[in-house]
Amino acid sequence: MAEISIDGDNLVVEIEGLDKLWALKSRLVIPLANVRGATADPGAVAGFKGLRAPGTHIPGVITAGTFHLDGEKVFWDVHDPVKAVVIALADERYARLVVEVADPRATVALIEQATTVR
């Protein structure tokens, strides 16, 4: 599970509990300017994730860490597919983050609000 918040001009993704160990990461800070969007996507977990390196993948239990797919790096931290949110990034080490959050709808709204320019 991850805790997502906005801190000034940054999106902060805190990996919680033991997931830090599985994902080999505890915190990601991404400038909001590099966040392309967020989507609640329960179906994301079912698809092919690519090659894992490094991280942990026990199908049906946990997907965590860095995966390589089509020349892109995707960061995963998901136990429960229903609560998965896909965050697309630009000009970052990761092309996408797929993380489990407590309330996907609220997380998507938070990110969209922070990245929408009027």
Partner: protein, 186 residues
């Protein structure tokens, strides 16, 4: 990435506009989009960033390719009766008006970018209706603005009734009857 996308973006955007015009935004999952558009999930994320990203591109496409030509035809219709006939009679405009309605009801209140897209289009619609109604020596300008707004509201309202299952002939009759009244009283 320098690789070709492997799908035709224009076709995907058009199909997405059609899908978003038939079902609510929240009711469409990424799985639905992947299935309906025939494009890999990763490609959708790579190209559009998010479901909302795809939605905005599809909405803009529809406003440009469905609604803008319709607005032009309404403006050129000659009179109010003609404007109503044009706006209600062409099946090609259905998808565009449906998406416009759905966007106005569902997304504009919660998404400022959607509201910003719709505002000028609705204003252009009013302006077209005003042009179609023509200047009338006995009416003041405020009157004309009112008639234009009412005409746009009628077009969208009749489309809403059509969505709710009112048969096409009834919609046409309603449009014709209203146009007749408006023309007779002016």
């Amino acid at each position: 990435m320098g690789r070709p996308r492997g799908f035709d973006e224009a076709t995907v955007v058009r199909s997405a506009a059609e899908l978003f015009s038939t079902r609510s935004y929240d009711g469409i999952s990424m799985d639905d989009l992947v299935t309906h558009l025939g494009v890999h999930r990763n490609s959708l994320y790579k190209t559009f960033g998010s479901k909302r990203g795809l939605y905005l591109v599809a909405l803009r496409w529809s406003l440009r390719h469905h609604i803008a030509p319709l607005v032009d035809r309404v403006a050129a219709a000659g009179d109010l009766a003609g404007a109503l006939r044009v706006a209600l009679g062409e099946p090609a405009t259905e998808a565009g008006l449906n998406l416009l309605l759905m966007a106005a009801v569902e997304r504009a209140p919660v998404d400022p970018e959607v509201a910003d897209e719709l505002a000028p289009v609705l204003a252009a619609f009013d302006q077209a209706a005003r042009t179609a109604a023509g200047r009338h020596p006995d009416r003041d300008e405020q009157d004309d603005d009112g008639v234009a707004l009412a005409l746009t509201a009628t077009i969208l309202g009749l489309r809403l009734r059509a969505r709710a299952g009112t048969p096409g002939t009834t919609i046409d009759q309603a449009g014709a009857a209203l146009a007749h009244r408006l023309t007779r009283h002016t």
